[in-house]
Amino acid sequence: MILKNKKADKIISVYWFAILFIVAAAIVYMVISFYGEPYDVREAEAYALTNKVAGCLSEAGYLKEGVLNEDFRENFMEECKLNFEVEDVYNWKEHEQYYVEINFYNFSTNQSISSIKKGNEALMIDCESKGKIFSVCLERSFYTLDKEKNQYQINVLSIVRKRDKNVQ
């Protein structure tokens, strides 16, 4: 009887270590896959970009002066203090990693008034697909007035690619 119990104990301890190894292997796998994967901050970047652009176009609910002028459209990057230069890795220098598109609409008639496009327009294709490997697209719209109380709807589309540093 005692012998039987001893055998049973041994078997239990072998099983115990087997379970322990399986649990440990699962933990190691999870830790490696979690910490091995880069932090994906592209969505936060796209939000920050949209906020920056919105803040550049409108202040306290009113459209800033000259935003609809040709000069502003041409010098959009300087006017909004944006710099789309990126680090020289993964061939990023040759393919811009950002894209911003702004569309101005007359709020009452829904007619397009003007638009501004800056960055890599080719990234637009990624917005049709879903998945981590594609660029992050964020579209937001807001309502604003000018000094003459004309109403506008402004749509801002921000796209951030930077796939190689955010997705494995």
Partner: protein, 133 residues
């Protein structure tokens, strides 16, 4: 009687070995976990991206305090000059905790920034935002 004492001793030794092995096993697992969590590579990436996001949303005149106690601890271990842990060139921020490697990430806000170590605590960096470029 003698036999019983011998038997009891056997059971105790077996149990102790079993417990010690379990503890060793779990300790190795915990050490592995902590080494992964606080490794220089992970922290460099974490702080480079965090600083880039801070700079993206920053405006002139802002002063930002960033606690980097864990990263500073590693930099000290690696004998790294704490004034060179974070560097910003053009619109790319780089965090380097050792003599080699480092992680860089770009930000789109065209703004000047000055980053220095808080010498009163040696646990945080102070980011002072300058004017737009």
């Amino acid at each position: 009687m003698r036999r019983m004492i011998h038997k009891k001793g056997n059971i105790l030794t077996g149990n102790i070995i079993f417990i010690i092995l379990n503890l060793v096993f779990l300790s190795i697992l915990i050490i592995f976990l902590f080494s992964k969590m606080g490794s220089a590579i992970v922290l460099e990436e974490k702080y480079a991206k965090q600083i880039a996001l801070i700079l993206d949303s920053a405006e002139p005149g802002m002063i930002i305090h960033l606690n980097m106690k864990d990263a500073i601890k590693i930099a000290n271990k690696e004998d790294r000059d704490l004034n060179n842990v974070i560097s910003v060139q053009d619109n790319i921020v780089k965090v380097q905790l050792g003599e080699k490697g480092g992680y860089s990430y770009s930000f789109f806000n065209d703004i000047k920034s000055f980053i220095h170590l808080n010498t009163s605590s040696f646990e945080e960096y102070i980011i002072v935002m300058g004017d737009y470029n």
